[in-house]
Amino acid sequence: MKVIFKYADTYRKAMIIALLLMMVELVVELVQPIIMAKIIDEGIVVQNLQAVYVYGAILLVITALAFAAGIMSSYFAAEVSQGTGYDMRNEMFHKLQMFSVMKVQQFSTSTLLTRMTNDVVQVQNLLFAFMRIMLRAPLFIIFGIVMSFTLNVSLALILLATIPLLFVVMFLLMIKGMKLFNQVQIKIDQLNSIIRENLLAIKLVKAFHRMTFASKRFSQANSELRDKNKQALWVMELVMPIVMLIMNIAMIALLAFGSIQLETTSAQAGEIVGVINYATRMLASFGVFSFLIMNVSRGRTSAQRINEILTQTVDDEVDERREKEKINGDVTFERVSFHYPNMKRNVLENIDLQVKAGEKIGILGETGSGKTTLLHLIPYLYHTTKGTIYIDGKEIDQVGNNVRHDVTLVPQEGFLFSGTILENIRWGNEHLNHKQAEKVAKEAQLHDFIMTLPNKYETRIGQRGVNLSGGQKQRLSIARAIADAPRILLLDDSTSALDTTTESHVLQAIKKRKCTTFIVSQKISSVKDANQIMLLERGKIVEKGTHQELLASSALYRKISETQEREGVQLDDE
C-alpha cells in the first residue's frame, strides 16, 4: 500500500485539493438537516414566509456549492489517480528494460503484462475511490458519533459500542468470503482450461471419440465450481442482513434507553430523535464499507505485485557513458558451465573453446543439448555459473553488456516487431539509409521477395500487415542482424526453413563479411565448411573438429551425415 502513496505524493497538491473539495461536500451534507430544521422551525411553524425564502435560498446555494465541489473534485482526483498510474507504468517499464533476459523469463511475460495493465488499473481505481467516497463513510461515522455526543452522552456511548462490533463482524465475514472467492476463481480457471483444451484439441477428441470422457471431466469441474460458488456467495450475502440486524437492535436499545432517560432525567426528546437520526444515516453509509473492504484488499494485492517489480534490483543496466571499444572477434571459453537458477542440472558443462576472429564454428546436437544456451552466453544475455568467457582476451564480465554493440544473435523463430519491413531491418541501426537496407536484404536473399510486395520496403508485417512464412521471417531476421555490422554473428538454427540453394547463398554472403560466426544447425551441409564443428550432447562437447576430421573420428557424425545425404531432397511445402 505504501508504494501507492509514494507515487501519489508527486500529485500532493491535486490530492489535497480533491480531499478539501470532498470535505466541502461532506460539510454541506451534514449542515443540510440543520437548515431544513430551521426552515421548519423558524419558517413554516411560525408562519414566517421570509425565513422560508432565506433558508431556502441558502439551501439552494450550498447545494449548488456542493455540486460544484463534487464536479471539480472529479478533475483533481482523476489527475492524481491517472498520473500515479502513468508514473508507475513508466517506472516499471524502465525497470523491465534494465532486467536481464533471465529475470524477465523468471517473471514470465503474462504476469508482467497483467501487472502493468490490470494491477495498475486496480490501483488507479482504488486511489480515485479513496479520494471521493472511501474517506467519506468513515468521516461521516466519526462526525456522526461526535455530534451524538454533543446531544446525549449515554446514548452516544451505545452507538460507539455498536460500531466496532459491526466492523469486526463485517470484516471477518468479508475476509472469509474473499478467501472463498479466490477459491472460486481457481475453480473457474480449472473449468476454463478444460474448455480451452478440449476446443483447441477438438480434432483429437473426435478422432479418439473421447466426447464422453471430456464431458465427464468437465462435469466434475463444473459441479466443484457450483458448490464453491454457492458457498462464497452465501457468506458474502450474509454480510448485509447481519449488519442491518445489529444496527437495528442498537436502534431499539437507543429507544429503550431514551425512554428511561426521559422519565428519570432531564433529557430532551429532541436529543433522542437526533441520535436516532444519526444512527439511521450511519447504517446507510455502512453499505459503502463492504465495497471499501473489497477494493482495499484487491488494491493491496495489486500494489504488492507492482511493488515486487519496482523493488527488484536491475541486473542489466545500460550504461551509455561507458567507452565503446570495437570488438575484434576472438572468443574463448574456459571450462564454462551453466545452469539455470532453481535447477540443479548443468545445461552446459566444462566447455572449452577457442575461436579466432573471422572463424566459423558449427554446433550440432539434439534438442536440449545446450546449443541455444551456449549462444546466449556470448552476448552476455546469460552469465556463466562457472568458468570464464574471454572476448578479445578480455573477461566478458569486464566488457559487460557493451559486448552487444558488436554481437548479434538470430533466433530460430525469427522474432520480428510490428511495423514495416524497412523498420525491422533498421531496428538495430537507425542510421541505415535505404540503399544500405537494400544491400543487406540482398545479402539475406530477401530483396526479390520484397519487391513483389505491394508497398515494397514499406510493407507492414505482422498482425496488421502481410504474414511472412517461416523462411521469410528468418531471412528478415538475418538481414536485420547483418545491418548492425556485427563482429560476432550467432545463428541459432536460423536457416532451418530455407531451401538448400537459398541457404547456401545466404551463408556465402555472411562468409564474405568475415565476422566470427557461430552456426547452430541440424543440417551438416550448412556447417560443412566451418573451421570447427562441435557435437554437443547433454551440455558437453563430445566431438570437435573439421568436417573431414569428424567423418573420420566420429561414428555418430558419420551416421548423421549419411542419413542426411540419403534424404537429399526435402519436398517441403510449408
Binding site: 413554516i44 482526483a77 463444473n222 460458488n229 430523535v273 537507425e430 541440424q522
Partner: protein
C-alpha cells in the same frame, strides 16, 4: 446449409446486440423452471422484506411519538418487541431470499454449462474450422460467467428496486399529488444529465480501451522480444516509445474518469435540489395558500421519500445495463446450442474389426460452393499398403485425411472401407480403428502418462510405458525430472517438436489401430530424434494400411503407391521408380529439388 449458418454466426459476433430479449429470457427460464416453487418463495421473500423495510422506520417514528407523548400506545415495551420482531424478520427474509436464489441460479448455470459444453463437443468439425476458437472459448467462459453473476443478484435487486419505486411513488401520490409532481420533475433533468455524461464516458472509455490495447500490444511485443531489445541495445528507444503510448493512455483515462466521476455527483446534486424544491415550494404552499391538504408533517415525510425515490431509479439504470449485457451473453451462448450437431447415426452399421481396404471412387469435395478442393479422386489401397501423398500446399492432401477421419463427408463419389461405403458406417466405429499422428496436434495440460493414455483410456501404467518404449519416447521421458508424471503445460511447451511427435506415436501405438494417418513434420527436427521417429513409425505402420503426407524422400521411396496431387486432382500415381521413369511432375519435383517455401 451448414456453412451459411456458421458464417452468419461469426458475422454476429462483432456487435453484441440483444436481438430477442423475450426469446432469450424464455430460454433462461427453462433452466430455472425446475425450481419454480423455490423461485416463487424468493419473490415472496423479496416482497416481505420490502414491506418490512418500510414498516421498520414507520414504527420507529411511532415509538418516538409515543415517547414524546404526541401519540399514545397501550404499551411502549410491546412496541419495542414488535419492532425487534420486524427487524429480525427483515434480516431473515433477506438472508433467505439470497440463500435460495443462489441455489437456484448456481443450479441453472451448472446445467447451462453442461449443456453448452456437451453440445459443442458434438458440433461438426467444419464448425470449428470456420469459427475462431478464441471467440468460442469466450462464449463458453466469459458469457456464461456473466449470466451466472447476473442471475445471482440481478433478479432480487431488480425486484426490490421496482417494489421500492412503486411503493414509494404510491405513498407519495397518496400523501400529495402536487408534491409528487414536483418531485418527479427531477426525472427528466436526471435523464438529460445522464445522457450528457454517458455520451462522454462511452467515448472516453472506448478510447481508453483502445489505448490500453495499443499499449498491451506494445508491451507484449517488447517483453517477448526482450532479448532482441537487449541484443540491439534499443532499451532507450523502447522506453521512449512506451512513454508516448502511456501518455496517450493517461489522457484518455483521465477524461474517462473525470466524466464518470460526475455521475454520483449529479445524482446527489439532484437529490439535494429536489429536497430544496420540496421544502421551498411546499413551505410556500402551506403558508401562502393555507392549504389543508399539505401539512408540515407531509413535507418532512416527503423529503425522505424523495431520496428513496431516486435511489432505486439509479439502481435500475445500472441493473438494466448489467442485465442487458447478460442477456446478450446468453444469446451468444444459445446461438451455439442452436448449431446443428453431427448428423445422427441411426441405421448406420458399426464395424468391430476391419481389414483396412480403402477405395476412393470418383470422390469430390469442396468446403465452399464452387471451390473444388478435391475432384474425382479414385484409387485403391489394399490392406497393409502404405500410401504417400505428395504435392504443393492446397493440393488437397490434408482433405483426403479429413475425409478418412470423417471430419468431413465426401459430396460426390464413394469411399469404401472393406468394400462398404463409409457413409453407411458409424463415425465412432471408423474412428475406433484409426490412428492419427498429425503435425499440429495438441498435448493436454496433464502428465505425460495421461497424454499417452488418451489413446486407450483403459490402459494400465505398464501398457503406457511399453507403448512409450516401442515409440522410442521412453529415453527422453525418463530423462525428465518426474519421468512419466511430468506435467505438460501450455500445449506441451518445453518439449521439442520431435518429442511431441514421439509422444503422439506412443499414443497411437497404445490405441493399436488398423488404419494409420500420418502427417510428417516439416519443421526442423534434429537428425537423431528424426531417426528415432522414422524407426518408431516403421514399427507402428507394420501390417497396417497407412496414409502419409510425406515431405521426405526417404519416406516417399518406401511407399507402395505415391499419389501426386495438384489443385485437387491426382495427376500422377505409382511407385517411386515408375514415376521417375515417367518423367512427369513428380520426377521434375525430385530432380530440381524444388522446395515450396
Amino acid at each position: 446449409m451448414m456453412n451459411k449458418r456458421v458464417r452468419n454466426l461469426s458475422a454476429d459476433l462483432k456487435k453484441p446486440k440483444v436481438k430477442n430479449v423475450h426469446e432469450t429470457l424464455r430460454r433462461i427460464w427453462q433452466y430455472v423452471k425446475a425450481d419454480k416453487m423455490m423461485f416463487l418463495l424468493v419473490v415472496i421473500m423479496v416482497f416481505f422484506s420490502a414491506v418490512l423495510s418500510l414498516l421498520g422506520p414507520y414504527f420507529i417514528g411511532v415509538a418516538v411519538d409515543v415517547m414524546t407523548g404526541t401519540l399514545s400506545f397501550f404499551s411502549f415495551k410491546l412496541l419495542l418487541i414488535l419492532l425487534l420482531g420486524i427487524f429480525i424478520l427483515q434480516s431473515v427474509t433477506i438472508a433467505l431470499q439470497n440463500y435460495w436464489m443462489i441455489g437456484i441460479s448456481q443450479k441453472a448455470v451448472f446445467a447451462l454449462r453442461r449443456d453448452l459444453f456437451g453440445h459443442v463437443l458434438h458440433l461438426p468439425t467444419s464448425f470449428f474450422q470456420q469459427t475462431e476458437s478464441g471467440d468460442l472459448i469466450s462464449r463458453l467462459t466469459n458469457d456464461v460467467e456473466n449470466i451466472s453473476r447476473t442471475l445471482n443478484s440481478a433478479i432480487i435487486q431488480v425486484t426490490t428496486s421496482i417494489l421500492t419505486l412503486v411503493g414509494t411513488l404510491a405513498v407519495m401520490i397518496w400523501l400529495s399529488p402536487l408534491l409528487t409532481l414536483l418531485t418527479v420533475t427531477i426525472v427528466p433533468i436526471m435523464y438529460m444529465g445522464m445522457k450528457w455524461i454517458t455520451k462522454r464516458t462511452n467515448y472516453y472509455f472506448k478510447e481508453r480501451q483502445k489505448e490500453l490495447g495499443n499499449m498491451t500490444g506494445f508491451l507484449e511485443e517488447t517483453l517477448s522480444g526482450h532479448s532482441m531489445v537487449k541484443l540491439f541495445h534499443q532499451e532507450k528507444r523502447v522506453i521512449d516509445e512506451y512513454q508516448q503510448r502511456n501518455e496517450k493512455l493517461r489522457r484518455a483515462g483521465y477524461w474517462a474518469q473525470v466524466y464518470s466521476g460526475f455521475i454520483p455527483k449529479l445524482m446527489n446534486g439532484l437529490n439535494n435540489f429536489a429536497f430544496a424544491i420540496i421544502v421551498g415550494i411546499g413551505g410556500w404552499i402551506v403558508l401562502a395558500t393555507n392549504s389543508t391538504t399539505i401539512t408540515i408533517g407531509i413535507i418532512v415525510t416527503f423529503t425522505t421519500y424523495a431520496r428513496q425515490f431516486t435511489r432505486p431509479l439509479n439502481d435500475l439504470a445500472n441493473e438494466f445495463n448489467m442485465v442487458l449485457s447478460a442477456i446478450a451473453g446468453a444469446e451468444r451462448a444459445f446461438e451455439l446450442i442452436d448449431q446443428d450437431t453431427e448428423a445422427k447415426e441411426e441405421g448406420k452399421q458399426a464395424l468391430s474389426t476391419i481389414q483396412g481396404d480403402i477405395e476412393f471412387k470418383d470422390v469430390s469435395f469442396s468446403y465452399k460452393d464452387n471451390e473444388h478442393v478435391l475432384q474425382s479422386i479414385s484409387f485403391h489401397a489394399k490392406p497393409g499398403q502404405m500410401i504417400a501423398l505428395v504435392g504443393p500446399t492446397g493440393a488437397g492432401k490434408t482433405t483426403i485425411l479429413s475425409l478418412l477421419t470423417r471430419f468431413f463427408q465426401e459430396q460426390a463419389g464413394e469411399i469404401l472401407l472393406d468394400g462398404q461405403p463409409m457413409k453407411q458406417l458409424t463415425n465412432q466405429s471408423i474412428r475406433s480403428h484409426l490412428g492419427i499422428v498429425l503435425q499440429d496436434t495438441y498435448l493436454f495440460d496433464t502428465t505425460i502418462r495421461e497424454n499417452i493414455r488418451y489413446g486407450k483410456l483403459s490402459a494400465t501404467d505398464q501398457e503406457v510405458e511399453d507403448a512409450a518404449k516401442l515409440a522410442n519416447a521412453a529415453s527422453f521421458i525418463e530423462r525428465l525430472p518426474n519421468k512419466y508424471d511430468t506435467v505438460l503445460e501450455g500445449n506441451g511447451q518445453g518439449i521439442s517438436q520431435g518429442q511431441r511427435q514421439l509422444l503422439m506415436i506412443a499414443r497411437a501405438m497404445l490405441s493399436n489401430p488398423s488404419l494409420l494417418l500420418l502427417d510428417e513434420a516439416t519443421s526442423s527436427i534434429d537428425t537423431i530424434t528424426e531417426l528415432k521417429i522414422t524407426d518408431a513409425l516403421e514399427k507402428l505402420m507394420q501390417g497396417k494400411t497407412s496414409f502419409v503426407i510425406a515431405h521426405r524422400l526417404n519416406t516417399i521411396e518406401k511407399a507402395d503407391m505415391i499419389l501426386v496431387l495438384k489443385d485437387g486432382k491426382i495427376i500422377e500415381k505409382g511407385t517411386h521408380s515408375i514415376l521417375m521413369k515417367e518423367k512427369g511432375f513428380y520426377a521434375n519435383l525430385i530432380e530440381t529439388q524444388t522446395v515450396y517455401e
